[in-house]
Amino acid sequence: MDFFHVLVVLLESTIRVSVPLVFAALAGLFTERAGVFDIGLEGKMLGAAFAAGAVAAVTQSVWMGLLAAILISILLSLVHGYASITQRGNQIVSGVAINFIVAGSTVILGEAWFRQGGRTPALAEGARFQTINLPGADTIRDVPVLGPIYADLLSGHFLLTYLAFAMVPASWWILYRTRFGLRLRAVGENPGAVDTAGISVIWLRYRAVICCGILCGFAGAYLSLAMTAGFVKGMTAGKGYIALAALIFAKWRPKNVMFACLLFGFLDALAIRLQGTPLPLIGQVPVQLMQALPYILTVILLAGFIGKAIPPKAGGVPYVKER
């Protein structure tokens, strides 16, 4: 029973840390399937988290915070889109630039506006998301096995948590069952063919980039409005890159994205849990190894040792109509 209890706690924290990864990886899914590489997920998430924290602190409204997060994230996405779609610049360079601009300006603006060492003021109850108890969670808590699973694992999360996991089938449906999704995937594989069919490659890619902005906005808002009450400088701490790794690990497929994010989230939760406790047979595992594991796994996958990750064919290549 004790082991079971530990497992439930572990899985519960897995879900909590996976949410921003799921949002960000799905965001990357939309742009990368449309042929625009995006290593600026980290920056967009950080910018969104700052906007959410700052606006929610000023307006005392969680919804205004969420809106601001999405708007800022879309704005940053459009900068990336302008550089990589309209100006046909290097998409990697543009992503790197956005990460730096955001990393610097969130600290500078935060310090100038709030003077709390790069933090935004701690949010009161109305200005952040509250956990939701699913109906009947308290009544069946005492039922063995099922009770804790329902009451502790599935119930008691934030609205955004449920939204994140709902976005997984939703993204699948958009990408694989709508006309927009079909065209979006086509533009990432063979933009020439889409253009020949009389569909604007540019406008389609811009829409994909905007979808990415919206989802990164949710990821950022989750960090500063739900997971913690307020923005802390550098609070994404590489989550954008982990999401990128998860996206590749998932071979650019929505369902796999969710499982990859859960796996990386689980490793994160496990690393915290295992700190200082030796494992049977293996002995004590250095925390650093656990932290590096998502990256090591992605490298091994990319090397083709666990299946093969094939990126969208036109990814990273700006579209030139004709010469």
């Binding site: 290593i39 290097n90 600290v107 990256y295 990319l302 990126p311």
Partner: protein, 377 residues
């Protein structure tokens, strides 16, 4: 818009366009300063004064520039072969192991001029090693170099935390760093170089690795433009299919270019470890690997452009500290913004002003042609 860009004179291509891009980047940075409620011109004054106001300040500026020359060259070498090495940060970090091992081994028995060459070899070796794997994976297994080098940055950071907290830390010490090196692990300062100009270097850690950086810049120029290997690298960077057709072995060039790039990034570790702190600390790279991207983009991947670009970033780092001191609402994170803006405008948006400039030159060309014609008639 879909016509290829016309060829422009060299001074426009390598002088005017980068300068315009840089000016726009600083203009936007000035707007951020305004947004914070400070005077951008005052900030610019503190920046220049903080970077050049005294011999000591110049020493610090050049100390930072040394670091950025190495990382800028690293990114540039990979660029020439058509590879984007984002892993300079991790390669420099791991390169530190080579420096630290050489110093810990010999610093008490040998003078610096024996330890230094070994440390150079060590840093280049470990840096190259850290770049070898991504290069090899790209060449042989087809994994994307950008993603693998990002992953290797994170792996390097975990590895170094492990090494510094468990292996390289002296017994009984709490701080995650090696012991302080004796005489043999400390590089001499270049105070004589500045005193030629009547400047006093003061406490600035401006050291002999600056000369090594200049030598490396020259070496990279020779490599890229005067050797067969460099020619093959440039061919591959311009057109992989042409390179393949010419019988250039792509996978070999990829691995070699990445190892040279990693080696240069690794040598950056000499400057802070043997030149300033005399020990290896946690996070001693401090983002210099990423600054290298901005430096390489601004310097158009040419050593002649990289050195001034590195000095410019040295100015930003040293002068930025002065701004932070004089204007409390602007911290050193301002540099990170400027760095990002430079990468954006000199890199991703490098062609934004090109059509207008091309048009201006085409018009001027027509006018002079017309003048010649009327004179002839």
């Amino acid at each position: 818009m879909s016509t290829p860009y016309a060829k422009l004179p060299g001074w426009v291509e390598y002088g005017l366009i980068p300068l315009i891009n840089l000016a726009v980047a600083f203009l936007v940075a000035g707007l951020v300063v305004l947004l914070v409620g400070e005077n951008p011109f005052e900030a610019a004054y503190h920046l220049i004064n903080g970077a050049f106001g005294r011999g000591e300040y110049i020493g610090f500026t050049l100390y930072y520039a040394t670091t950025f020359i190495f990382t800028g060259l690293a990114v540039a070498v990979a660029f020439h072969a058509g590879l984007f090495n984002i892993g300079g940060e991790g390669q420099a970090y791991v390169g530190g192991i080579g420096v630290a091992l050489a110093c810990l081994w010999l610093d008490q028995v040998m003078p610096w001029y024996v330890v230094f060459p070994l440390a150079i070899l060590g840093s280049a070796f470990f840096g190259a090693l850290w770049a070898f794997l991504p290069g090899w994976l790209q060449a042989r297994r087809g994994s994307h170099i950008v993603i693998t080098t990002i992953m290797f940055n994170f792996i390097a950071s975990s590895l170094m935390v492990y090494l510094l907290t468990r292996v390289l830390k002296p017994l009984g010490s709490m701080a995650p760093q090696t012991r302080t090196f004796a005489e043999g692990g400390q590089l001499p300062k270049l105070d004589w170089l500045l005193s030629i100009f009547g400047l006093n270097v003061g406490t600035a850690p401006f050291n002999i690795s600056f000369l090594l950086a200049l030598a490396a810049a020259f070496g990279v120029w020779v490599l890229i433009w005067r050797t067969r290997l460099g020619y093959e690298m440039r061919t591959m960077g311009h057109s992989p299919s042409a390179a393949r057709y010419a019988g250039i072995r792509e996978s070999r060039i990829t691995v070699i270019a990445m190892m040279i790039s990693g080696g240069l990034a690794g040598m950056m570790a000499l400057n802070p470890i043997m030149g300033e702190q005399f020990r290896m600390q946690l996070d001693f790279v401090q983002g210099a690997g990423f600054v290298g991207i901005a430096v390489a983009l601004m310097g158009r991947s040419h050593p002649g452009g990289i050195i001034p670009a590195a000095i410019l970033f040295g100015v930003l780092y040293q002068g930025g500290a002065e701004i932070a001191f004089e204007m409390p609402s602007i911290s050193r994170d301002m540099i990170v913004i400027i760095q990002g803006l430079v990468i954006l405008f000199a890199g991703a948006l490098e062609n934004m002003f090109r059509p207008a400039i091309t048009r201006a030159f085409a018009m001027r060309g027509q006018r002079t042609a017309a003048v010649v014609q009327t004179k002839g008639a």
